[in-house]
Symmetry: C2
Subunit: 137 residues, 2 copies
DNA sequence: CTCCATAGCTATAGCTTCTGGAGCTTTATA
DNA sequence: TATAAAGCTCCAGAAGCTATAGCTATGGAG
């Protein structure tokens, strides 16, 4: 039996976050002690570790809920799990692409290196005038 | 004189967002018509375009507030503006690095291609067992 | 057995950056 | 002048937590 604090220490998920996951339906409401404190089994520790890992990978709460539901049916085909992960990979790649464009634009903007005045600072002028940008963003 | 709708059309910032920026102190409360509707000058249109552009580049509301304050003093040195932009560039680069790690991990995870069952699906197993990961994240 | 620190409880609010809706008023146009 | 489009304020919600207040339970020492 684990207390909520045990779970927090073992998974690195903060206590209020564990309670929040319970509220969000990622974790079932666990048994309680006589004094109304949550008491968890090993299964729930593993489930929380799964959630933590998926969150670290950037999956949404909704996607995780779906994956957890799928994982309860080991005999079913895994196409759906694959679809969720693949879609997420695509969204990660999109984010990377977007950020790289920003990176380029920012590199150009900071080229002024702060050694003159605001009045002719490229940072300020570039922000004020979109047409100074090289690409869309 | 522009209405709030004119500003929205010209900058691509939605009307509730313009009002939100006013609340957040990025835009000063503008003049009002006799019927209490907001009426803007060209200056404010330009200011909003600046904000829009900076948001597109991913700068926070706070950073933008600082940059706007700086831009009111063209005679001052621009080191501070440069610092804000440079810091932001660094944070963009960090995000890119983190996302690339995620991308790699997800690529490995989706390699199972959904052609078997949940029970031996690599997506599910990888999420359940962090030790299957190659790098930290 | 009592005391105390630590840990847990609930409920609620706050963060960030908007977005949307309800219910009403103003403005512009025909 | 009638009416449609656009504006107003206020409030709630989305995501994923985090923090606080005010209280109770637990576990070990003396």
């Amino acid at each position: 039996m684990y207390t909520i604090g045990d779970l927090a220490r073992r998974t690195g998920v903060k206590i209020p976050t564990i309670r929040y996951y319970e509220q969000m339906g990622l974790l079932a409401a666990p048994e309680r002690s006589e004094g109304n404190q949550r008491r968890y089994e090993k299964r729930e520790l593993e489930r929380l570790a799964f959630i933590r890992h998926a969150r670290d990978l950037g999956l949404s709460i909704d996607a995780i809920r779906d994956l957890l539901a799928l994982s309860e049916h080991p005999e079913r085909p895994c196409g759906e799990a694959d679809r969720i992960a693949t879609e997420h990979l695509a969204s990660v790649r999109e984010k990377i692409a977007r950020l790289k464009k920003l990176e380029q634009e920012l590199e150009r903007i900071v080229a002024c290196h702060g050694n003159h005045t605001i009045g002719d600072c490229y940072v300020i002028r570039a922000l004020a005038d979109h047409s100074l940008c090289e690409s869309e963003h």
